[in-house]
């Protein structure tokens, strides 16, 4: 089997860019965050609890019962996007098949997005400032603190935005937009500087 080809393959050039020296904070660290499995799991109103149990058996953690919250487990992360809809991310590439075989039509649906969405991470104290140029949401910790996830829009493109840890944001975007999206993020970070490891 050939290697998977990232949409940003050979396009993320290592280095430090922008006005780093002008700011006291560290540059925003930008990185690709590849996944082995990315899938939407959706249930029917009466089966959401069952779905959560199934997801927990596959990735080791049950999706949060609260909309807009993520829960990270040993084998993956579940993002509760509301209305019985969960995004499941795992480093392992076999989890989609596991979910697929565990969830039949009477329980819910499993949509493979392993190749459909590309994920990048922004880290650093200036990440929120850079994101505030693009995201029409209140990213303050009181409103979008660690553990939160939401669906939003950046530069006209739908984005799933997660805040897994302090000063750390994961952004899932349709693969076709990945290169343009990454350029948009880089551009927003120029003022404070950014780095690509």
């Amino acid at each position: 089997m050939p290697d998977r080809l990232s949409p940003l393959q050979n396009k993320m050039k290592q280095g430090v860019y922008g006005d780093v020296a002008a700011h006291l904070t560290a540059p925003v660290a930008l990185s690709e965050r590849p996944h082995g499995t990315l899938a939407f799991v959706e249930g029917w109103p009466e089966t959401v609890m069952d779905l959560q149990t199934i997801v927990a058996s596959v990735i080791g953690v049950s999706p949060s019962k609260q909309n807009g919250w993520l829960s990270a487990g040993a084998k993956g992360t579940a993002y509760n996007l509301g209305l019985g809809r969960f995004l499941i991310r795992s480093d392992n590439d076999g989890e989609f098949a596991s979910l697929r075989s565990a969830i039949d039509a009477s329980t819910g649906c499993v949509f493979d997005q392993t190749h459909g969405r590309w994920c990048m991470r922004m880290e650093g104290p200036a990440a929120r400032f850079a994101l505030s140029k693009l995201v029409e949401l209140d990213l303050h910790d009181d409103n979008f603190g660690e553990g939160r996830v939401t669906e939003t829009r950046i530069h006209h493109v739908p984005v799933i935005l997660a805040h897994p840890a302090k000063d750390t944001y994961d952004l899932f975007v349709y693969r076709g937009f990945a290169e343009d999206f990454f350029e948009t993020i880089c551009d927003a970070c120029l003022e404070t500087g950014y780095s690509i490891a």
């Binding site: 089997m1 002008a22 939407f40 009477s106 459909g116 140029k133 303050h140 350029e183 003022e191």
Partner: protein
Amino acid sequence: MSGFRLEKGGVLIDRETPVRATFDGATIEGFSGDTVASAHLAAGKKLIGRSFKLHRPRGIMSSGPEEANGLVTLGDGPSREPNLPATMLPLQNKMAVESQNRWPSLDFDFLSINQLAAPFLSAGFYYKTFMGPTRKSWMFYEHLIRKAAGMGTPGREADDARYEHSYVFCDVLVVGSGPAGLLAARVASQAGLRVTLAEERNQFGGSLLGSNVTIDGKTGADWVTNELNTLRSNKDCLALNRTTVYGYYDDNTLAAVERVYEGPAGSDHRPRQRHYTIRAKSVILACGSFERPAIFENNDVPGVMLAGAVRDYARLYGVSAGKDVVFYGGSDKAIASAIEAAEAGVPVKSFIDPRSTGESELAAKLKDYDIAYQPGQGVLKATGGKSLSGITVAQFNAKTGRLASSGYQIECDCLAVSGGFTPAIHLASQQGGKPVYDEELDTFLPGDANQNWIAIGAGNGTFELENALDEALAAVNTVAAASGRSPSKTERPALSGNLTNKPKSVGLATAAHDPAKGKKYAFVDMMHDVNAADVTLANDEGFRSVEHLKRYTTLGMACDQGKTSNMNGLALMAAARGQSIPETGTTRFRAPYTPVSIGAIAGRGVRSHLAPVRRTAMHDWHVANGGLMTPVGQWYRPRAYLKDGESLHDAYTREAKAVRNSVGIVDVSTLGKIDIQGPDASTLIDRVYANGFKTVTPGKARYGIMLREDGFVYDDGTTWRLDDHHYLMTTTTAHAAGVLQMLEFWLANDWPDLKVRVNSVTDQWAGVAVAGPNSAKLLSSIVSGIDFSEEELPFMGVREGTMDGYKVYVARLSFSGERAYEVYSPADFGQAMWDAIIEAGKQYDIVPYGLEAMAMLRIEKGHVAGAELNGRVAIGDIGLGRMAAKKKAYVGKAMAGRPALHEEDRFQLVGLVATGKEALSNGAHLVTGSAENPGPSEGHITSMGYSNVKEAWIGLGYLKNGRNRHGEIITVTDPVRGKHTKAEVTDPVFYDPKGERLYA
């Protein structure tokens, strides 16, 4: 005093840091902290610009955003920016400032000759003068008028500076950082609220910096610094200077622009301007007030300034606006300004007050500064050309409110006037009820709040500092209580100094204006050269509503937005109509409060960032292999792969020929793909397509036509049944998002009972079409798990297999008319799939083909695409009426049954074959008659190209009653491109009408 720069003082300047810039090419010197206006005045210069219409000489009038005269242009080339108030523009080294609206120079402006024509340039003169002699005359005049009148001109080159957007959320937005606003912001932050403070000027502090008031035992400047430090120590608070909140919209959303820097773009990446969209739970409007000019003859001569501005230049910048200064005003607030200016070293020789002796509490203090107090008098006129040389002072009749018609002359080079104060109610008016007139203050105050805002301080008509600070504290407590916080225990700071802030002024708008004497250059709106006589004229001609007055005279339009002109204009109109100001009414203020640059609105959405770009997994291969890329919606797709020396025509006809003769491959990843799952998936699909889908079995695909609810065709595509409860719907590239949106809407709103979920997998799968008689042989050599025989994979069959270990779907579909397959792989393997097919196809001379060849192949087959599905087409128009199900219900069925959608003379799909060698044109009209004498349009061409199989230019198009006109020779006229030819009307299927090639 050295020149006009005072020996000491100037809280905003750093005398240790000189700054050199240029004004109209000549050096202008100042200090760090100066504005262009303060440096200009410090240099002893009065003249800074020419007026809009009459080209009258104008000087600096104010010290803030209300400046109507001192508009300048900054820079040249891409960064050139016109119409900037010199009062707001910080002086910077190497800054190149130009005056505006003059030629050849500011001192000698040829068009100042316009003043001779002033009697003809009254309000509405455009409408009256340039009506004829013909209807097109305006086109001639307009050019000349635009040359003669106006303001600055922007650069012709694209602006190379960055402009950015930012989104701010806060518990409370405080607009304005005068003492009330700043106190409110600081106390609110200490109450635990997330505060954003926006100050439009370069510095925080508002009127406090220019006054001699001490607050909490500190000078105004020190108190401001202290408050700001406290505010900024809270990381949740944002204090923005040089940031103008210009619009107040629904849901407590406000728009602001921060002027991060001025001038040319530097090498760094700071934006020149940052546009904020602010969503605030509450807003405290501490917007302050504007001082009104006085209306008298020649009140625009350079040297006539607002009293507060003369004080500000002295105290903030250490500049005396003149060497022989007279103050004129009818309030103690104006007297306070005179005293504070004198304290700072300004040589104030007299104060002219229309009030009688004893009416002023402060007047007695004037003698402490050797300022002669002249009560019961007023300024009748000013004298001077490019700078003030003197004024005529006359007795004021308190009963009539008018000045005597003659008086005596006083020499002076600066007249500081104060005609009262107008609260800045712009934002409140944008989201508030009708402004309320306050008779005591003689001004309009904010009306009822429509949104969650509270006005405080001078902007609310509360000019007394103690009361303004009390309002600030009360407002914070209201906001805190609304968010569940305890009230603040902060007490009002102790105050001392000139606390007499009573702004009530004797009306100076009408005192010197005698309408019977006609035009006397008594200006109301300096920016637009609207004078008192224009207001009277508007009344005489029936434009009496304030809204009509504004539009007829341009009073208060554009940059001014009524800041200095509104109340004086209303007073004049009220006098003309013999009624009170509240009876006359006021206009509603609209955004923007000050001009906003287009760059700030566009932000980074320019050039390559204008719209997002979408790339398929094979995008880079296309580019590297000669793909002539073209945008298709957000995607980029190759039109053709050009070989050396090939034209586009050569390339696509070569590619199309290869497909017909052997095999070709095209990237179809952009087709919309929607994953549909659930026990009721079949029901959903059957409802949304006009043709039946219930009989489609797993492993089969079917072509479907989707209508809109109004019965017209919306989209088409194939839908594949992958298993009992799992479908993959494909859509056109153009309607991928629209179809998904419709499905989601119907499931959420119309059919919530259906157990179905849909998900876009357009990006999950890379797709290619492998088309041509050798396609099956090629694919069978590289795809595992699929038997490509006719029996095992028949037309419209769908199978799952693998290629080099990764999963692929293969569907036997054909857009080209040849035996063909669509192969979908997970997108990260898309390039690998493409490479494998190209490699395996070499033995069949495989060619990659682009949009042009794909279009030609489908035109030859008469297949419709986006160009034909234009939103006005009924299913019968494209010859697919018989596909529409008779028995089942589907979206759009009821409306599709309208008789009008079945009439015979509808535009119907036809084929067209050019009778000559000339190409047909997309969009060309089909007419009867000749090119020279054409009849009305009876249709148009939707798609065209050169057909190898017909050896002619062919096309598809719509023609009235087209199906019954096959064989007719029709004129194809394309007047836009100047092309006219003829074509034969044919059946739209040009190639293999029996479909035998699908099985080749």
